[in-house]
Symmetry: none
Subunit: 418 residues, 2 copies
Amino acid sequence: MQVEVVAIGTELLLGQIVDTNSSWIGAELAAAGLNSHFQTKVGDNPERIRAVLEAALSRSDAVICCGGLGPTQDDLTREVIAELMGAELQLDPTVADRICAMFESRGRTMPDNNLRQAMVPEGATVIAEQPGTAPGLICPVTIGGAERVLYAVPGVPYEMKEMVTGTVLPDLRRRSGDASVIASRIIRTWGQSESGLAEILAERIDELDSAGNPTLAFLASGVEGLKVRITAKAADLDSVTAMLDAEQRRLEPLIGHWTFAYDDDNMETVVVRALEERGLSLAVAESLTGGYLSGRICAVPGVSAVYRGGVVAYHPSVKTQLLGVPQGPVVSEEAASAMALGVCRVMNADVGVATTGVAGPDEIEGRPVGTVCMAVTVAFGDEDERHTRTATIRLPGDRERIRQFSTITVLDLLRKML
Amino acid sequence: MQVEVVAIGTELLLGQIVDTNSSWIGAELAAAGLNSHFQTKVGDNPERIRAVLEAALSRSDAVICCGGLGPTQDDLTREVIAELMGAELQLDPTVADRICAMFESRGRTMPDNNLRQAMVPEGATVIAEQPGTAPGLICPVTIGGAERVLYAVPGVPYEMKEMVTGTVLPDLRRRSGDASVIASRIIRTWGQSESGLAEILAERIDELDSAGNPTLAFLASGVEGLKVRITAKAADLDSVTAMLDAEQRRLEPLIGHWTFAYDDDNMETVVVRALEERGLSLAVAESLTGGYLSGRICAVPGVSAVYRGGVVAYHPSVKTQLLGVPQGPVVSEEAASAMALGVCRVMNADVGVATTGVAGPDEIEGRPVGTVCMAVTVAFGDEDERHTRTATIRLPGDRERIRQFSTITVLDLLRKML
């Protein structure tokens, strides 16, 4: 069963709104085991909407189209669908009553425009869920002799989601007659380049490519790491999970060295959980990351159990006076180490993490842009057992990427020490 | 000149990444006066990529395709384009050298895979900008007897943007033969809602709509403010600038009260510049913003002239011990005020800015999610002349939006005090 998504609205083409609806529907289709190979955005123009829907219905069994069901003149989806079906638009009294009732319940008079929303092409079925004024439609369409189905849902995300979850996906699953389940697992890695991973996995990818199920893909995701995605299809959830588990075990000896998390976990959540399990509190001192490192840590739910806080030591005097960094170069492992120890002292924390370096655009102390010195210090149990590790790396990219890569790299250093 | 956008990557169809590239390109095309009627997403499958590119090149004069230029097996754009051009892929030694040099500068060995990225279809031109390992391509394609142009750019946003801005848009403008100049001015506002601004500007928008040039648009942009964009078209740069100036003057009495910056300036750059002009140094103390406020400030080029640093006082003990906040509720204007004064003392700064509040998901001290207390303290000349202002606001949205809105609001408070 091939299903594709068409998003309608000039504001999407102009970039005034990012089309998150199609992405959400794409994820839901995959989870429901339905193939989805194309997504198209088109503006509020009847000829172009019709051309896009015809092309989609020619190559796919079903099309979900979002948007253009509102009450204004530039909402054209109903008219175009009626044309495609060769059907007349008729006022649906049940829908009209629903819309009137909605306005009444909010103590408002219904503008006449809104009755346009009650116009339904003959032969179409109204979707049961209707959280807003726009009704969703299930429309049988014949294209080139083939029977297809077109679902029209509103562009307002919560209205669309309620209809897709409640009616569209179950209807598609029923039509597909396929009870199989598709699922993915993300393996997150750090410390190896995308091309390096691809080389390591080349043989396995070739084997999988010829079999076709499961499949592997890579995704460079900045501070979220370099992701390896396994996708599998099977008869039921247990079988697909077993396939993902088996493939993950198979990849483990190849890429386990760089693997730090799976699925929705990221470097921060993994580190925070490890700290919590060991009863260790954390503080950070940062210079070139400027608050970004702390901000990432604070975004982890439940972080207050371990996080004391951070110092952004931007000016050299803050490094020396508040954190006790000795006089000397500030882009150095010595300075990073002193910052990590200093912030532990100031915030009474067991674990200190520090970054200092050159975010650009100019060199500092003769060190080139992208040079980052980092330190992690951990007091296991008591202060006598404090371990400190430092590292210097050289990163590519602009200020933003240097910050992101510094952050994930220093947290990875901490993860390895725990 | 019709231009459309094709985004390539299975991860886009599966909803693992939202396709923000196409939205950004759509906005840039509109700003450059180029029509764009379709945007398509397609997975990493050579037949389907080819079908989509052929359809796009048949109905549009130019196509920008993003993604699939990486070093791995599932990066297929180069091969498909070569097929469409009826050309062979050849190793481009200049590109190969560039890629090698990138690896060398980071002290790493280049995996053989990366040489795939130096394969260029015969007849294609390499785009001058190449911030990453993937080169961009300008490819002449003949479809059904018509001469078209296909631009291939990487899916990594900062690489794509550099190429589109530096080469693709100027090349499209040149090909379009349209010598007129289109330019935009962004007026950035804060403190008034989008619908409030729309009401204030409704009459003027109606007038402009009937004339068609210049035009006005709104863009809610989180921590970047609520933008009002004027776009004008004229014969040359001087004329278009005069039109933008005239429209800006016309809007000034209507929205000047909420205007804080123009074009690429944002709240941070405006505040940092004002501090620099007055010779004042800055420090921040933050709780619910968790480092985000400091990170935004540090992103301003040249901020080191004014910025001392920041304290992320996440744990209550850091607020009391390091910043001297008195015992009592931490979500209060008193606590915010003490934090701002405390961080000035600790960092020896003239100006202190502080945020404390409830980012969610749970209430704190009986205050609901979205409650934010903030303080700004400024020592003009000497400590005797210190002025402190506090405020409490209630923000909608999730953790991320609460952080963004807190940050821009507290900086706006500082801006007004300066």
